[in-house]
Amino acid sequence: MSTETRDADRGEELLAQVCTALATGTPLLIQGGGTKAFHGRLGRGALLDTRGHRGIVGYDPTELVVTARAGTLVAELDAVLDASGQMLAFEPAQFGGQATVGGMVAAGLSGPRRPWAGAVRDFVLGCRVISGHGKHLRFGGEVMKNVAGYDVSRLMAGSLGCLGLLTEVSLKVLPKPRSACTLRLDMDVPAALERFTEWGRQPLPITAACHDGDALMLRLEGGEGSVKAAREALGGEQASPAFWTALREFQLGFFAGPAPLWRISVANDSRPLLPDGVQLVDWGGAQRWLKTTAGSEEVRRAAAGAGGHASCFTPGACDSPLHPLPAVLMRYHRQLKAQLDPQGIFNPGRMYAGL
């Protein structure tokens, strides 16, 4: 299936694969483009490749909704939306063009616009999922508001494939901004963090704010009038928007180098006492990337001390890459997993050992 490039509905085959796994008690390793081995623990199990099940099954720009099969490439979806002047506002990475829509939702990672536009899960309107009981189910839909039943679609976002096999997702899309501008402002990290909290309280058209260690990078998007006014008020010099693509794709120089990479998620105004290393501040302060050789205990203590959490994004550098959960919360995670995937066939151990 992996060489398939044409649109095809392989739902029946995927269902049969899951049913066979259930019948034989074989764990499955769900994989799309295989671009996110750095996120979570290493999987084990029989490979289930979603890439053959691909294609956009519905897109009407005036409805602001697109529905795509899980194996559809994010790059392809981006291109289709772009042609209609629309976008996935959470700015997902394409990872060399290989990332799939299913993996994008299952991993739940969002790009630079996240604090202003929302995360992947905020744009998920509906999904189809093959359950741990061997059924192909549909939840949510193609409408903006839907509170019938539990919000299974959003639960699936970021679940790393541990609760079922996503086969199709419906996503809210938004028009691309009419005007955009990237600015570079010279200041250090503490000054940038202070600015972020000031600007956050004003209705400025900021849609990305990052300090890359050298300077503050800012993106303004909106109507021409608001972008021009903000640009004049904020100062700085114009820079290339390619910065945001490189940031989203983990291609900035910062991400190279041997030290393990940590993602630290904290309140935007917090000042975590991070261990030695190099830091990149994204999401207007709410996401900090840290390259450090410090132990995981030390990094996590710093993150938790600021009310946040830390995940290790370098495979093999840490036994539990995702921040450990409190015992009570972990128990409810196990109970949910046991209910929805009673035989434990979907990506066992991908998120946490024993889950």
């Binding site: 720009p61 539990y150 970021g158 679940s159 209705p203 608001s226 959490h309």
Partner: protein, 499 residues
């Protein structure tokens, strides 16, 4: 089938001795207010859906989280069902009590714990009113975006339970998009913190799962909401149309132009007349439909968007377009819309509000279908809706004192919701399933999907003690009701164009 809890189809409930339970609660918490006399229980026998009433076994009004924890532990040990209630403004009977259950009223948890203007969040207790959050944030130039019509009265805990919306959802999102963390107590009395002060938290997205879960998975004890900077300006355009079809097309054209209005609302002729009689908002009573389009943001962008929307409206065939001249007129334009429900209430002894949401392109089909159903059932229907996001609120006018009218209204409502499902929509956009739409859930979901929902529930409340009978119907109910979703080719409304 009676909408009230029916053990034969909704599941058996344990027999509870109210005196024993009262004695145990009293002994454990001498200062807990417990209501048990009939006259004290009366005010709690229904929520905002007043057509359905049940006297609860007991009403408890805790003031400390430890009390809620103790109540849950005692009820869990005794297998007593617990129904949570906030301000009681819900429109789907989500807080309808059970004769064999305790009604847990969270309204006294009404303190704002923290407003953090730097990190832009507010931490509040669940009984805090929606509007009170924005008022507390106002001195910092911030506000809480979701604004359900009941925002003066409804509580944030109830907003979480229903994933409440409002008129600004298309641009600013629902409750799920604006809450960053909650604390809950499980039925076993265990505390969980879901979400964080950060933008995400590790593990499954249980925060999203709890949004709109209607008190079925846990009791919300604290809520942290995101605060946004107030837009500099908001202007509203009102456009009249001589048909609802052309108004519907105008909505698609505005979105197609790449504009996401802060609010985009439509009202049909009956709703316009009702609102105008009541509020004197200056609505054109001769129009078949009006659109209210609010544009907010920075001055320059708003001015530009007003011109673009004006042009779109003209092309779409608007017979008149007027821009609210000042803030007073803007507020008046909105007052008609925000008071549409009570305005319709003046035209009829009773009304019944539906909440279906559809892909917008099917608006003309669904409106025509609704008009045909209205005629067939001999009941007037006024249409008010959040046009931007396809969330319709048909208001069915009836008189409960006329024998059979309530039943006819219920059936008509059910048919409208089935029509929404048939065009690819949902039975509820923001009011919740509660008890009201329990039968229509059988139309929207098949047995396997309902079983999946029951499995989710079992992970948090294995004994099914939290709000039994709401949100997810038993398979038994669906079977008895004969409304289980039929397969393709046999769907209701076979004449409809398929999506």
């Amino acid at each position: 089938m009676n909408i009230l809890y029916d053990e034969a189809v909704d599941g058996a409930l344990g027999k509870v001795d109210a005196r024993d339970l009262f004695a145990e609660l009293r002994a454990a918490m001498p200062d807990l207010q417990i209501l048990h006399r009939e006259e004290d229980l009366h005010p709690y026998e229904c929520d905002g859906l007043s057509a359905y009433r049940t006297m609860p076994l007991l009403v408890v009004l805790p003031e400390r989280i430890e009390q809620v924890e103790a109540i849950l532990r005692i009820c869990h040990a005794r297998r007593v069902p617990v129904v949570a209630r906030g301000a009681g403004t819900g429109l789907s009977g989500g807080a309808l009590p059970l004769a064999q259950g305790v009604l847990l009223v969270m309204a006294r948890f009404n303190r704002i714990l923290e407003v953090n203007p730097r990190a832009r969040f507010a931490r509040v207790q669940p009984g805090v009113r929606n509007l009170a959050i924005s008022q507390a944030a106002a001195p910092h130039g911030l506000y809480y975006a979701p604004d359900p019509s009941s925002q003066i009265a409804c509580s944030i805990g109830g907003n979480v339970a229903e994933n409440a919306g409002g008129v600004h959802c298309l641009k600013y999102g629902l409750t799920v998009h604006n809450v960053i963390g909650i604390e809950i107590l499980t039925m076993e009395g265990e505390r969980l913190k879901l979400g964080a002060d950060a933008l995400d938290s590790p593990g499954f997205d249980l925060l999203a799962l709890f949004m709109g879960s209607e008190g079925m998975l846990g009791i919300v004890t604290e809520v942290t909401v995101k605060l946004l900077p107030k837009p500099r300006v908001a202007r509203v355009l009102m456009a009249s149309f001589d048909s609802v079809d052309s108004a519907g097309r105008a909505v698609a054209d505005i979105i197609g132009e790449g504009i996401i209005p802060g609010g985009l609302e439509m009202m049909d002729k009956l709703a316009i007349q009702a609102a105008e009689d009541f509020i004197h908002a200056g609505y054109p009573v001769e129009a078949e439909a009006i659109l209210l389009c609010e544009l907010d943001g920075v001055e320059a962008d708003v001015a530009e968007d007003i011109e673009r929307v004006r042009a779109v409206l003209g092309r779409a065939g608007a017979t008149a377009v007027s821009l609210a001249r000042d803030e007073a007129e803007r507020v008046r334009f909105w007052a008609g819309r925000k008071n549409a429900f009570p305005a319709v209430g003046r035209m009829s002894p009773d009304y019944y509000c539906m909440d279906g949401t559809i892909p917008r392109k099917h608006l003309p089909t669904v409106l025509r279908g609704t008009a045909a159903l209205s005629e067939r059932y001999g009941l007037r229907v006024a249409n008010v809706f959040h046009a931007g996001d396809g969330n319709m609120h048909p208001l069915i006018l009836f008189d409960a004192n006329q024998p059979g009218e309530l039943e006819r209204a219920e059936e008509l409502g059910g048919r409208i919701l089935e029509l929404c499902v048939a065009v690819g929509g949902t039975i509820t956009g923001e009011h919740g399933v509660g008890r009201e739409k329990i039968n229509q859930m059988c139309v929207q979901f098949n047995a396997d999907e309902l079983s999946f929902f029951h499995a989710v529930k079992a992970a948090f409340d294995a004994e099914g003690l939290l709000n039994p009978g709401k949100n997810i119907p038993t398979l038994r109910r669906c079977a008895e009701n004969g409304r289980m979703r039929v397969h393709q080719g046999e769907m209701p409304f076979p004449d409809l164009e398929r999506f």
